[in-house]
Symmetry: C2
Subunit: 202 residues, 2 copies
DNA sequence: GAGGAAAATGAACGGTGTTCATAAATTTCT
DNA sequence: AGAAATTTATGAACACCGTTCATTTTCCTC
């Protein structure tokens, strides 16, 4: 029976993930240090490498949890309005809300890069894909003539556009908008795009 | 007369910028090493810190040059078509073309982060703002009722959306589109958005 | 409980950006 | 033009990073 071993191992993994999550939330991905994480988790520096292959793998697990939380936030909105326009706007608003409420964790999702030549694991790519799935259903109602591959492409494009708007606004690179202006700007954008889709359908 | 001093100083700066630019183009921002740059530029390691405050300042100068080249690429397209729809599509296409032709340099524009607590210098923010300016004129034709602040907000939103579509597609995070599909998807997006803007105007 | 296997430890390693006493080069003064 | 003063180039040294590994400690099997 190796119960105690496995339990300790899982406990250590959990504490490391939690510590890394807290550090990311506080100082962002750039401020993440293996020595800080292990100190917070109450273990030795080397213990991190008995639980995970390297820091990247640990970050991937933190991002997994963030994606799950983001997925829940979107799921709540997706079950609300039935009309495609209202639902897409609700999803965009929820995405913006999550991003500004969990700024550092959300930024980590897209800032993190694997070591050169190392691909993102398949299971993590699949978790990202879920974000797009929420858009397919309302888009299908809006564009009944499209087949599945085309719908997926449109959904990915729409997600990318919304992500770009949220992303650039929450960075300091361009002159920022007030949060309330950002929301109305984003919802206006979705409105315009939906109107365009309806027009083209005719 | 301090002519020789200034000339040498400018020459050193130029060689460092050129070396950094080549390294970024070859291995990206993540593969940039102070020792590699100074070796390529033919100077000692410490010389970098007599020409620039730190690596960040050097990267900022490389990004400046990239922004200037991107600006030229957009300028060429901006003087072509007169119709707003055609011009916005030409600009989006040019942006995508520049991004895929200069992938590493383009990525560096948005991946680079200053040290924590240090703001991006004003002169560099201004260089970014130029990207948006190209969109204002065609948008003004499309939306004659809007005042300047609103036009700027719409232009920034449109740029962010196009940037998001290009950005996520050129990364490996989501399932990628073939380059040719990406272009038609992007142009279709601009088409839809312009149609939406025309509809709402009525 | 004894013996063996697995895991935790933290000092040590190689590599990073940055600094700094020293040396070289350039300008200024007489 | 030559000497003194000032600025700049140098690269070894520093602090810090992720990661490794011989050693110790803990846990499982018998």
């Amino acid at each position: 029976m190796t119960a105690k071993r496995d339990a300790k191992r899982e406990d250590l993994k959990g504490r490391l993930i939690e510590a890394a999550q807290a550090r990311i939330q506080a100082s962002g991905l750039a401020g993440l240090r293996a020595r800080d994480i292990t100190a917070d988790a109450g273990c030795a520096l080397g213990a991190l490498y008995t639980a995970f292959a390297d820091l990247d793998e640990l970050i991937l697990h933190v991002n997994s949890i963030t994606l799950a939380r983001l997925g829940e936030a979107l799921q709540q909105e997706a079950t609300g309005a039935a009309e495609p326009r209202a639902r897409l706007k609700a999803l965009a608003k929820a995405y913006l809300g999550f991003a500004s409420d969990n700024r550092m964790a959300w930024k980590a999702l897209f800032e993190h890069r694997m070591a050169p030549g190392v691909a993102v694991p398949e299971w993590h790519l699949a978790e990202h894909a879920v974000l797009i799935q929420h858009l397919v259903e309302p888009l299908a109602k809006l564009l009944p003539a499209l087949d599945t591959p085309d719908l997926l492409a449109r959904a990915r494009t729409l997600f990318s556009a919304v992500h770009g708007i949220v992303s650039i606004s929450l960075e300091d690179r361009f002159i920022g908008l007030a949060p309330t202006d950002l929301e109305s700007e984003l919802l206006g954008f979705v409105d315009t795009l939906v109107s365009g889709l309806e027009t083209e359908r005719e």
